[in-house]
Assembly symmetry: C2
Homo-oligomer: 202 residues x 2
């Protein structure tokens, strides 16, 4: 096989294969795609990576991605500083932003509590969250971690610490996805949907 | 949204989204993964792309990827020059090499005939294949294009041109995959398997 894949091709396949969600087959496909591309088009990706690593850092306040000390959201004076939405990763923040429903600030934990992976509160930006409460006058923390075991554990952990401080602590609702089908819902989701039922205003 | 994704992050997501098989969600996931990675780890991918574009070219004879004028296979004196396996892309060549069953040389067409995509024989390395027949003393051409409409069309097109030249022209067999299940085979594949049936040597 050594003769088939020249060194740099194998190196490229190896590096691509390290990306999340990219298996060996996809890595190979992408590598050959890049080799077939015009030089400029392929190097644009290389430059975009270098550029992003060069210019993008983490917001010192909420740990969102940011080009300056503070991210665009933290710098935006129209955002309500008293409500903070706690998410696991910047991509979750983006998902919440897309709803257009939230006008407060964020706090990115950098993951969720996972004993199996050896991630405890100390590996997350938990201390940084509590340090924000007083100076920013935060009155509500919305726990917006993922509705899976790790996310729920993290939410419960934070709720237990936040409640005694008199900060309103809320958790996003679990239930059937909009447009979803009752028949195909799993029991856990449907159970949550029942549990979280609300009065109908007629 | 402009404030959420800083310029370089969006640029990176856009560039990743242009890769084959990478949708917008995967592009976002990979981008944040790269941003979270250590600087050196992320830049290794950028360098691997640049390096591959710098050092890897196409074999002047068979159009496989190559670091020199000729690829490793064309340079290998133990390969039989009289049998040529015609494939669409370098990744198909790799698939054939993996079988360990083929000891001849290759010819990479660079695609398949596809009227819908506007790809005719002139866009492929067909002329280059015919130019090899005489000087290399090629006696058999194995048509190893994909068993789909484009690949079959290409194989039939080449077969029609090759036959009058007295070159043995063969096509890889279509049929049930090894370990496959008759019950779950689609009609076309099963039909091909019947059509391509062989006498059993007892």
């Amino acid at each position: 096989m050594a003769a088939v894949y020249a060194g740099p091709v194998q190196d490229l396949i190896d590096e691509l294969g390290r990306l999340p969600g990219i298996g060996p087959k996809s890595a190979q496909r992408i590598a050959f795609h890049l080799l077939k591309l015009g030089r400029d088009d392929a190097l644009r990706l290389a430059r975009a990576i270098a550029e992003a690593k060069e210019r993008v850092a983490w917001c010192v306040r909420c740990f969102n991605v940011s080009e300056g000390d503070l991210c665009g959201i933290c710098e935006d004076a129209r955002r309500d500083p008293s409500v903070v939405c706690v998410v696991e990763e910047p991509r979750d923040l983006v998902a919440v932003e897309r709803t257009g429903e939230f006008r407060g600030r964020y706090h990115v934990l950098g993951g969720a509590i996972s004993p199996i992976e050896g991630i405890g509160p100390d590996q997350l930006r938990v201390r940084e969250l509590f340090a924000r409460l007083e100076p920013e006058g935060i009155t509500e923390v919305i726990l917006c971690t993922n509705p899976n075991i790790e996310g729920e554990t993290t939410a419960m952990y934070l709720a237990r610490l936040l409640k005694p401080l008199g900060v309103r602590t809320t958790r996003i609702a679990s239930g059937l996805p909009v447009g979803g089908d009752l028949e195909y819902a799993d029991e856990l989701t449907l159970g949550r949907a029942l549990e979280g039922r609300r009065d109908v205003d007629a």
